[in-house]
Symmetry: D2
């Protein structure tokens, strides 16, 4: 019962998995701030190489954060299934964040046997209006161990 309500992976394990399993985005220093069943909040500190012309944060850094946030939301619901992979992702850039930390809030909107779908809001830390909105689908491998 509690199992249905709490996350199926713990925050420390998810954070390690992001850092070690996907080294490119893992190197961004993302931390898990909160974790529920099907929801996650991540924080990405600013790094000098995230800048782009105009003095804002480059899209691929925001995309990388959104992608691992959705990965976290999926694993929070199905447990440690590392081979879950993104099949599609759409990101809309809404405002240009100043250089600084970015927070991602992801939620699952569907968890099927083979596909999970959710969306992610990204915020410049401390600012109420989102800087980007992403949504995407993860494919869940058929031979995963029962959760």
């Amino acid at each position: 019962m509690a199992r249905e309500q709490g996350p199926a992976i713990d925050a420390g394990e998810l954070q390690d998995l992001i850092r070690e399993g996907v080294p490119l985005v893992g190197s961004y220093g993302v931390t898990v701030e909160a974790l529920g069943r099907g929801t996650v909040r991540l924080r990405m500190p600013y790094r000098d190489d995230f800048v782009r012309p105009g003095g804002t944060i480059t899209g691929p850094a925001l995309f990388g954060l959104a992608d691992v946030a959705l990965y976290g939301a999926v694993l929070s619901a199905i447990g440690r299934v590392e081979l879950a992979v993104t099949t599609s992702m759409t990101i809309n850039f809404l405002r240009k964040p100043q250089p600084g930390p970015v927070v991602a809030e992801a939620r699952l909107l569907k968890l099927g046997r083979r596909l999970a779908y959710g969306d992610v809001l990204l915020f410049a830390e401390g600012v109420a209006e989102p800087v980007a909105h992403a949504n995407g689908t993860y494919s869940i491998p058929p031979d995963r161990p029962a959760v």
Copy 2:
């Protein structure tokens, strides 16, 4: 006349701009392989930190390549307007590439005064079937110098 047909930025300048202007993706070592007016082909060498669980290339590396490919296609049509920014991007991951170089072929499908739209096919080098397909919109700043 020739100007209408050739690219509005040269390949070396575009390559430098990608490497210096957007250091995150710039550090991936992307090269400009071909450039037309509204079309570009880029190549991204493999880097160890692009790996993800399953031994394939992580989505954000492919997204970063697609994003700069579309940036290149836009600049090939309007010239060096560094402040052109992505407003939205959708990427579909179709096949899992083996670790190795990835080639991006981008084309513009619309060039308006304020918005440019195009799509990008990504290929594992030497393989005919695409590994991903992306499409996106760039916003062109209103005060750019006439091209």
Copy 3:
């Protein structure tokens, strides 16, 4: 002040505009159930020609509802600007609704001078889990009267 909080168009006017201005979807019999500033809830009754193989509702009917819901959310924020047009829309179909009424809940996530962006959740009436999720961008014509 009150003006900042209430919708910039009233529900009856929006409903008429949907029915008359866009006759294709207008003919679906969509009603405005609730309207705030930047939010709207619409209801689409079932019609026999919405069926598709498998006994569910065809995607284009759901897309049409999502599109006018986002249109309503935009007009609820900027007033009666009929020439606001969709520039892009992404829809993910999550569950197959039974034949029956569908409810759309749209919200704006960004309102700029030229572009508005938001998303829409679609529900089979009375069922908590969404049947589809859409997001999209509307272009706002530059010469609209001040609101």
Copy 4:
């Protein structure tokens, strides 16, 4: 051998299936103009109720055409599997077509066992520049008869 090259459904059968299986879009009078294996060209005549403010064609009509075009491209590769359903679709509106016939050219970019992905260009008949570009994924039911 020939079977690998020709379409897995014939044009007349596909046209009937569109008209009868999905009556909403079927009623638009779409015709199959060309059909290959994984490619299709459809034509949609103009209908008075496709108009929207600004004197152009309403987005949902274009979406419906894109959706059945992708459906046709999928069936051209796997045969008559009526229960193939759209799981996601993105459409970008690039230019405002005048009232008149619209032509859709769809191609598959991936055909897997469970998912097919492709894109669609839409043109005002006789005009070279596309009015819209769509891409989407179809889910293929697991228990379909072998093709």
